[in-house]
């Protein structure tokens, strides 16, 4: 049986000996430098002067003053978000303009933020028994994780790239079925190569 060195359990040459166990072959001190570098070594004289270090730190902040700025000056500048950005939800429509959702509640079940609320009822169309009578997403609770999209068996719910999401009251941010279907109309022609 071969022994593999176990640095976690046996510090070279010490731990096993302390426990009165025979020293395994691999535990014999190896030739060469054994001294470890320690992070908490005594500071050198130069380090103990502090002031040069302080100046260096100060300068590292100050030189940023004339470096390139990352801020996007919204709304004059509009940020180009990545293709798989996850923004406001939309409820997709089929080619006949009907909501695709069949009210299976899988998005509601998958949602980690509990922001989706569906009320199901008998569908007015013959090709499905059930559809969502009400479909509400609390955009304030949503964490935009995309799990609803992932869970949907009908590709009926998707996240768009729309990120400018503002309201002046909380109830404005409860997006109902009509609003979510409108989001589809707004983003119908957008293509999301990574997810759609």
């Amino acid at each position: 049986m071969t022994h593999l060195p176990g640095p976690i359990f046996n510090a070279p040459g010490r731990a096993t000996a302390d426990r009165g166990l025979p020293t395994p072959a691999y535990d014999t001190p190896r030739p060469g430098p054994q001294k470890e570098k320690r992070l908490s070594a005594r500071p050198t004289f130069f380090q103990r002067l502090i002031v040069p270090g302080l100046l260096r730190t100060w300068w590292s902040g100050v030189r940023h003053i004339w470096q390139k700025k990352l801020t996007v000056q919204w709304p004059e500048q509009v940020r180009e978000v990545s293709d798989n950005y996850r923004g406001v939800h939309r409820l997709n429509k089929d080619d006949r303009g009907r909501m695709k959702c069949v009210a299976c509640f899988l998005c509601q079940t998958a949602c980690p933020a509990n922001c989706i609320r569906i009320e199901a009822g008998p569908s007015p169309w013959p090709d499905r028994p059930k559809y969502a009578v009400r479909f509400t997403i609390d955009e304030l609770r949503c964490v935009f994780c995309g799990m609803c999209e992932e869970a949907c068996p009908e590709d009926a719910i998707e996240l768009t790239r729309i990120y400018s999401l503002v309201g002046t009251r909380r109830d404005e941010m409860l997006f109902d079925k009509e609003q979510l279907l409108t989001m589809y109309d707004l983003t119908r022609d957008e293509k999301h190569p990574l997810r759609w």
């Binding site: 509640f105 079940t109 008998p122 499905r128």
Partner: protein, 519 residues
Amino acid sequence: MSDVRLTIDDREVVVPEGTTILEAARSVGIEIPHFCYHPGLSAPSNCRMCLVEVQGQDKLVPSCATAVADGMVVRTGTPRVHESHRSVMEFYLSNHPLDCPVCDQAGECVLQDYSYGWGSATSRFEETKVTQPVKDVGPDIVLYADRCIMCTRCVRFLREVSGTGELSVIHRGVRSEIHVAGDRPVTNPLAGNIVDICPVGALCSKDFLFKCRVWWLTSTASACPRCARACSIRVDSSEGRILRIKPRENAAVNGMWICDEGRFAFRQWHGAGRLDVPLVNGDRGFTHCDWDEAIALAARSLRQVAMRYGGESVAFIGSPWATIEENMLLARLFVSLGATMGSLWPAPAESPQRFPGFEISGEKAWNVAGARRTLMDVAGQLLTLDRLADEIERGRVRAVYALGGAYRGALVPCDDLGLELLEFFAIQTCFVTDKGLKANLILPGASPYEKVGTVRNERGVLQEVNAVMSPPGQARRDWDILMALAKALAATVDDDLTRAVLDRPAAQWNYTRSASGNE
């Protein structure tokens, strides 16, 4: 009947002669997959899911219809058995619409569960699936014939348990379907059970349809308040609303079934019209008041009557809709005031309904037996309502305090009690009935689904009752109202009282909690 010793999956099993392999396996916790077998019905062994390997037999045998034999060696998990399961599942799934996302059964569907074990992720089936219509089976039941796997549990239930036989299987092979004879839709009082026993989402309750996905239901074990049989039930609720009620298996009470009256009994307390504030009858008719006022008024009035005419002029009326504890607290409280006369609201009586495999009691309240016995135990005697009416007329009873808790209209037969002759009448109830309108004080109590306690059914079985939700608005559990009244009447009484009440059934009635039972 002698015992048979056999081996199932290397485990010694001893069961009575005549037991089937499936049941024997079940008794030691080995679950053999099955569709058509149901413990409450005959076993036609037509689903072929429960095939197992028996040593010495070439072919696999249907475990639900094969009786055990001495020395039998059964294996339920061999590759051959699993291959059989896979074949059967492929067969079922080839013509199943696989519409789990919109199917109400999803989450509690046997076919779905077995698919995880033995279903194939891909299908070899290229042909068009046979589609069948959605059929209206009865006023409460709809059949999604597409999803049906022809286990015939519903057909057998209607033949064997309800004895009505409205459903049958017509045609054969892939075209077979569940058929409702045109003139006889499924309207029998036990019809709801076929929805429960349907292993897939073919039979759905119209009442529950699309209401909620089952994984969001909270299940509470309780007893059915609808009749004196007090069937063991499971109340499924979501967000504080009862959405459906299903039977719990309890051999001592209801076996495996409940009747539709009990299934939908929650509607009688649910919904609009529930009393949710205390009402006091003053100069301007009934007005709302707060609880402190109401309890103070009750205590003051009862004490006044007791002082002026003696304690025995105060009477109480228990309720068969209240738990044993509530009735006992009521009786002890009033006996401690000096009351000697107590009565019990009669439960509405109908003729009992008997079916080949089930019986519905004619007394329409769950705790008739428990309430009567409790009140008798504490008060020593129990007057009929007629006797109480006499006593009121003769002026020997001047104040009455009653538990109600009944559904709307259930207390109507007690209209001629002569309440107008009383100086004080208070009732804890759920609805403002005609009766209530003659009261001085109406206190909003709890429905049977909002209580915690014990009930005793007509066969003497005690069952735990658990609260599914809180009473609406300001309404309170009747126990809490009585405790508040007890406190207002005599501050020292309550600790002793509680202990006495809570210990009593256990000590006296060889109290065995029988609320367990299997799902």
